[in-house]
């Protein structure tokens, strides 16, 4: 019996729902020249206002006000291009960007690529949000301050902490804020000479090691024990009268929840040190566990991860830093307060660390987070956590059935929001490692996965994080792509190693440019001088 068109459509739809058929995907490939190579002299992309006749008559030539030697001699070599041609160029670039909205971005673990509601974008693009000046009288910004203040209250409830700042311009920036707050705390106590060591763990984000270094501390990194938990004995041994505190994640990048986390905090407190937990990925614990309840003195959230603000090609982002009353006096200025029914920017905080950022912060992210929390409510937030954890375990079940995939550490324990897998076996069997598979998976219209922060403690790593945004069909499809990559590797490894095959460009070459001063070119003008000039 031949299949009718209706039957075929239904069969394929079912297979897609079950992850049985992968997309016949082709990325757009525009072969688009750099904008610096386009346009013609004299073309204009936009006309700007010119001084009126009356203005010119009153003040004369602008050039007369520029001191000698400060008038630009040669015009900057910028494109001269009409507006439609500029628009088309960047639309082509946007089409050659999969992003999260198109890319089924379960892939980027540690990033919590959840859906950023479009309605929120309308809110922040309106002039009541976008066209506020930061030095405006606070009476003219009461709505924004109310949103920020209330978001702070919600985050206090979610973390169990007493105080907040939303000044940091990203997650790492909030983590840096913590290093500065702890520094100020011990400076105030006169112990900064004595305490100069910060403890972190290797599966905590690199910023948990790098930002205390920037704050002037020595950094001690604790490695995992055989179960993947930070080695408690090694941790104890690292703590002393020199310890400032710890900056660690739980669950770590492995997705393993450390059930003894409060013991680590106790060890620190017994030594007079402080404890901070990096909660960049709090999705799995919303409403289920709170940093304060494990004894932590401070924590942070990424509003662009857990709280739905979009990632915007890596920012602008918002870090929420939360702490206890004891540390609140050190928060950066200004702090948003409420007196009666008025909201204020409080600069009168003599013990503050000062500032980590100019003005107020990236409060576009706060507006979005506020809207998101308000549409979830207390039970919705718990549902977010539950579904994230369920999705992760469902995907885990599928991935562990794929040949060449393993999940190191903590056998018998379930992961919460994400998992760090290894393709060591696949590499050993076929020569295809995690980088090659990453460059193959994108040929199916799926965003390339996050492997691991450095160093790769888990060999040939990859780290998906299937947060609440993704449907069962999305999870099935994602796992099917990994399975397809594995099958291809065992059947024809070279084909995978030659990936990608359906992308806007072919495989990258001249990779020595990444390390060689003679070949790198950070701008087009450098490329013209160094590379094109030579050819």
């Amino acid at each position: 019996m031949t299949e009718t068109p209706q039957e075929k459509v239904a069969r394929l739809a079912k297979l897609r729902r079950d992850g049985g058929v992968l997309r016949d995907y082709r990325s757009p490939r525009y072969d688009e020249p750099f904008i610096m190579e386009q346009g013609t002299p004299g073309e204009r992309g936009i006309l700007v206002p010119l001084a009126e006749e009356g203005v010119a008559k009153a003040v004369g030539e602008a050039a007369d006000y520029i001191p000698e030697g400060m008038s630009r001699a040669a015009a900057p070599v910028l494109p001269e291009m009409s507006q439609y041609q500029v628009l088309r160029h960047y639309l082509r670039y946007s089409q050659m960007t999969l992003g999260m909205d198109l890319g089924s971005d379960i892939s980027e673990g540690t990033c919590t690529m959840k859906y950023s509601p479009k309605m929120h974008e309308e809110l922040i693009r309106g002039h009541k949000a976008a066209d506020l000046h930061p030095w405006q009288d606070e009476d003219t910004m009461q709505g924004l301050l109310e949103i920020v203040y209330d978001t702070g209250q919600y985050l206090k409830s979610i973390s169990g902490m007493d105080a907040f700042t939303l000044q940091p311009g990203g997650g790492s920036h909030a983590v840096y804020t913590n290093a500065c707050v702890m520094r100020r705390h011990f400076e105030a106590k006169g112990e900064l000479d004595q305490r100069d060591e910060m403890i972190t763990t290797i599966f905590s984000h690199p910023c948990d090691a790098a930002t205390p270094m920037v704050a002037g501390f020595k950094v001690i990194t604790v490695m995992p024990d055989e179960n993947g938990y930070p080695d408690l004995e090694a941790f104890k041994a690292a703590v002393s009268e020199h310890t400032v505190g710890c900056m660690i994640t739980n669950p770590e990048d492995t997705g393993i929840y450390n059930p003894q986390i409060d013991k680590y905090v106790e060890v620190l407190h017994d030594a007079g040190a402080l404890a901070f937990t990096d909660q960049a990925n709090a999705n799995g614990i919303l409403g289920f566990a709170r940093a304060r309840d494990a004894g932590f003195d401070a924590c942070h959230f990424n509003l662009h991860k857990t709280f739905s603000s979009p990632h915007g090609c890596e920012g602008p982002a918002t870090g929420a830093y939360m702490c206890t009353d004891e540390l609140a006096k050190y928060l950066p200025v200004p702090v948003v307060t409420k007196i009666g029914d008025r909201y204020h920017l409080d600069y009168d905080r003599p013990e503050s660390i000062g500032r980590v950022r100019g003005f107020l912060g990236n409060w576009m992210g706060v507006i979005r987070a506020y809207a998101w929390i308000r549409t979830m409510g207390p039970e919705g937030l718990k549902e977010v956590a539950e579904i994230s954890v369920l999705n992760n375990n469902y995907l885990d079940n599928l991935l562990m059935a794929v040949k060449g995939v393993s999940r190191p550490y903590a056998e018998g324990h379930r992961r919460l929001d994400q998992v760090r897998y290894s393709l060591e076996q696949l590499k050993e069997d076929t020569g295809v490692g995690t980088e090659a598979l990453r460059d193959r998976m994108v040929d199916f219209g799926i965003q390339s996965y996050w492997m691991s922060h450095h160093p790769w403690v888990v060999p040939e790593p990859f780290t998906p994080e299937p947060c609440e945004t993704y449907s069962k069909a999305d999870l099935d499809e994602w796992a099917a792509v990994i399975k397809k990559g594995s099958d291809e590797s065992y059947a024809d490894a070279q084909f995978v190693l030659d990936s990608p095959h359906a992308q806007p460009i072919d495989q990258m070459r001249r990779t020595e440019a990444m390390e060689d001063p003679g070949q790198w070119a950070f701008t087009w003008r450098a490329y013209k001088k160094k590379i094109l000039g030579k050819k």
Binding site: M81, Y90, R92, T211, H454, F522, T523
Partner: protein, 468 residues
Amino acid sequence: MGDKPFVHPYIPNSVPAVKEAMLRELGLSSVEEIYAEIPDRLRFKGRLDIPEPILAERDLRRHVQGLLDKNTSAVEFLNFCGAGCWQHHVPSIVDEVINRAEFVSAYCGGDYSDLGKYLTRFEFNSMLGELVDFDVVANPIYDWGDVAGRSFRMARRITGRDKVLVPSSVSPMRLMEMRTLCQPESMANSTKIRFYEWDRETGMVDLADLKAKLDDSFAAVYWENPSHLGTIEAHGAEIVKLAHEHGALAIAGVDPITLGVLTPPGALGADIACGDIQPLGMHMHAGGGCSGFIAFRDDPVFAQECPLELYTVMETATLGQYAVGEALPDRTSYGSRDQGKDWVGTASGLWTIAAAVYMAVMGPQGFKEVGETCVARSHYAAKLLGEIPGVQVKLSPGFFKEFVVNFDGAGKTVAEVNKKLLGHRIFGGKDLSADFPELGQSALYCVTEYYDQAEIEHLASAVKEVTA
């Protein structure tokens, strides 16, 4: 919500039947079995202190927009305040491009799948490089104060010296960020900030004081153009020369929108330039539109000590086809944790795309014209304000878009003037009286190409009225 299951449009698997099917697949009866990983003593058993949800999109929109509507924007009022965040015209094409779903939603996707993001980033670096006249532009982060502090730390690593000289006219807000990055001086590895004076007549740096303070122990001399108080700095080339005579680096803080008419830091011989790209196509967003850049000449030592990501153009298997790759990745905290140079993290990627589009549409002529209009209209405003009895414009007539207006002669404080200006639907200048008491009751006014002659005249008549 009662007992009804919570099915939310942002959570597909909240549909009970789907959830049950997935649990069944895992051999679980509830997600609680997974949460058993969190010991009971660490479980939160209370109810989050968060209001009941506003479920319908229409209702949520009404609620949040209602809060935002309590704000008064710089579209409703005339805004003559800058001081680190400036109201310039944002071309519609900029918003169109950065609001594309692909760009809004992208994060750290791969070299191929997010190619367009990387190509745009490279074009941003290339065009900003032309404006500042440097071959290297690093990936921007946070804001001007932050990148200035990072530039100091970079200079310290390059020179092995631990002091920097900063003009005392620097923005107090920016200085606070620098100080946080440079660490308390009691710490052995801190970078010490020392000051040189500014000329109270002109607003420019005091070269004689710089000469007196500078010796071979400094890692860098920093100056700004225009200065925080608005003055175009005429001594850039001399500052560079003095710094180099003492083996120090010359670091210029610049507002890039001035560079269609002003000499760029590269041409002045500076070693490093930093500043804010907010004027290049960003809405102010109450300061959220800020983003700091670092640029320098193509010197491997500088590249190795640069704390921010660097992207090089690369080639592919096909001739004439380009990719973009991250250079020297082991140098950043992503590559080497605490052994890297400072730290990197989610920064301000979308703003670099906005600035790329902005620079592309403006072109050389657009930058020249916007510069000339800023100069002309700000001077027109200064002229009108200076004619008001009791109101005086201070410092050098060589300013770009910001200038100091003093109200001492009118017997009014800036706070009083600004409060009253609100009644005329005007945001007045930034109050300088606390940070620069030597200027008396003065405010920093900002007039860009955004406001026309009639609006400037409205400002002048309002100031006249409120100071009378």
